[in-house]
Amino acid sequence: MSNAQVNMSVRGLTKVFELGRGKSLTALNNINLDIMQGEILGLVGESGCGKSTLGKTLIKLHTESSGTIAFNGEDISGVMSSAKRKSFSRQVQMIFQDPYSCLNPRMTVEDIIAEGPDAHDMWKKEERREKVIQWLERVGLHASHISRYPHEFSGGQRQRIGIARALALEPKLVICDEPISALDVSVQAQVITLLKQLQVECGLTYLFIAHDLSMVRVICDRMAVMYLGSIVELGTVEQVYDQPIHPYTQALVSANPLPDPVAERARARQMIRGEINSPINVKPGCLFASRCPHVMEKCRTVTPVTRELGGSDRRVACHLMEH
């Protein structure tokens, strides 16, 4: 991975939501992340850990509080000029979690898919219909679906429309925010195989936000684990899933049920007690300290820094690493 080109580079990214009355919610806390050209980077964590906020900040649906984001070597932090924003929005697209609410119910499939390309004057008027049909067929739908409305489709089919809508702009980076968690088991595999096939065909880079660890282990190249707004561990899926170092990753992997009763009975569970802390007005110290089985005195007062492991791309933020 070290020779690969960096697609998006994030340094010191922080997002704070002011709640009023002196309260503030730190959704993203000093995020450093490089997304490499052509990879699938999995982003996992429990609900409320900030993974969707990170996705939305990278696509500039939220404006960052501090830190920098560079896309293809170009700084896109802060408020962008409208020309810059237009070129950026064509190159970075998002696939949303809920296929029922992300499509406009009053638009036909043709208008949904062509809306982006129309805004960017990508397609000539006479080729518009033909291009839409091409995209429908690429995502496994039929040309006859072109004049239908979203309510006429099943969840899996709507997600296919969502994928065609995002990819019709020929983006470089696609942020997939839990694209399969609203779908049935047998349909999930259909959508994942489609995403993987299109990634190879179009040379795409994916940031794959998910809470399903098994799916991330199976389809991603690298994975980042988030806890309360911070990335606590990052590395290839083999490193992170198979040999987790951070106690939170260990607990997450250990709680992930395996579809194999024999392996399930044989494994030793490392259950963590307690629940996720509140992200409002966070104090210094490791955020996982209150649930960590290996907690030390230092963890409650000093925020652990992210350390690189032995010259590899693997990074872990935990005080245990110093020993």
Binding site: E46, I192, V218
Partner: protein, 354 residues
């Protein structure tokens, strides 16, 4: 777990449920038979719309009628048919002998009522205690389901609790009268994975303490593998395969079970190639197919599958005392050996049955 010699605590025969809609009659459950034995965990697995939740809502008398209707079948529990209970009898039965926990604990709790009182309500109703005594019992139940600082939290409202803690309250309400059967309808689907682990562990522990049977309705094969003793796989309103948990995972006998198993990611066997999708979608239950419901999506479908409903074919499981069958023509004696061998070779991680 030995089951054949034991008497089932709940025995359902030939249950069918239908709903009248503007578009026609939906046959949600089509001839379902199964037994639940004391102390076991039976997992009901299937995708949305396969009828798994409707089945148990019917047993609990929760199907709105109209538009719903239980068109046939019996469900024997404690010597009587619970589908024929009158309103008063049903109210006495629900929560006392069989209770249910739901997927979304927030919408199942009363937002305007203190949680201690919600738990005590069941105890007052079924065990005839005074409210004072019931509240004391509710406190014990909150401790039983491991809610920290129970004595102060008993006076809180549902919105002050997290998702995992709300589900613990639901469990406390369901267990207040020590039921013989607990139906858990996707109890952990709305929860995070570390909280899911805590809740499943709690359910297992309480099951041992109270000696109750648990019916776990889920679509998550990982959860099934970690807690179930027996599994029934549902598709298009019918049970297509049943057996011990090891048999179902190591030697799936129905092509749908085998397909489901390879459609979910397995971290023990990573790589995109190990993920094989089942093509197509489940059939329309307004007019269910004459033959096998899965035939249109099945890679092993034969001519007979479209025209004739497959009979139940008994199979031999690893544990001889457990019921094991598949509703598939592949296992019929007239099916050519070649086809049988092809299926078992592709789908069995150990020696096949066929």
């Amino acid at each position: 777990m030995e089951t054949t010699n034991m008497k089932p605590v709940l025995s359902v025969k030939d249950l069918a449920v239908e709903f009248k809609t503007y578009g026609g009659v939906v046959q949600a459950v089509r001839g379902l038979s199964f037994d639940v034995f004391p102390k076991e965990t039976l997992a009901i697995v299937g995708e949305s719309g396969c009828g798994k939740s409707v089945t148990f809502q019917a047993l609990m008398g929760l199907i709105p009628c109209p538009p719903g209707r239980i068109s046939q079948g019996t469900a024997i529990m404690g010597g009587r048919d619970i589908l024929k209970l009158r309103r008063k009898e049903l109210e006495a039965f629900r929560g006392l002998e069989m209770s249910m926990i739901f997927q979304d604990p927030l919408t199942s709790l009363n937002p305007t009522m203190k949680l201690g009182k919600q738990i005590a309500e069941v105890i007052v109703k079924h065990r005839g205690m005074t409210e004072q005594a019931a509240l004391a019992e509710a406190l014990d139940l909150m401790k039983l389901v491991q809610i920290p600082e129970a004595s102060s939290r008993i006076n809180q409202y549902p919105h002050e609790f997290s998702g995992g803690m709300r589900q613990r309250v639901m469990i406390a309400i369901a267990l207040a009268c020590r039921p013989k059967v607990l139906i858990a309808d996707e109890p952990t689907t709305a929860l995070d994975v570390t909280i899911q682990g805590q809740i499943l562990e709690l359910l297992k522990k309480l099951q041992r303490e109270i000696d109750m049977a648990v019916v776990l309705i889920t679509h998550d094969l990982g959860v099934v593998a970690s807690v179930a003793d027996r599994v029934a796989v549902m598709y298009a309103g019918q049970i297509v395969e049943t057996g011990g948990v090891d048999d179902i995972f190591a030697r799936p006998a129905h092509p749908y079970t085998a397909g489901l198993k390879s459609a979910i990611p397995n971290p023990l066997n990573p790589g995109i190639k190990s993920l094989v999708a089942i093509p197509g979608t489940p059939p329309d239950l307004f007019s269910p197919p004459v033959g096998c419901g899965f035939a249109a999506r099945c890679p092993y479908a034969m001519n007979v599958c479209d025209g004739f409903p497959p009979p139940i074919q008994d199979l031999e499981g690893e544990n001889k005392s457990q019921e094991r069958y598949s509703r598939c023509w592949l296992h019929h004696q007239a099916t050519p050996q070649v086809v049988k061998r092809m299926f078992s070779k592709e789908n069995s991680s150990m020696e096949g049955h066929v």
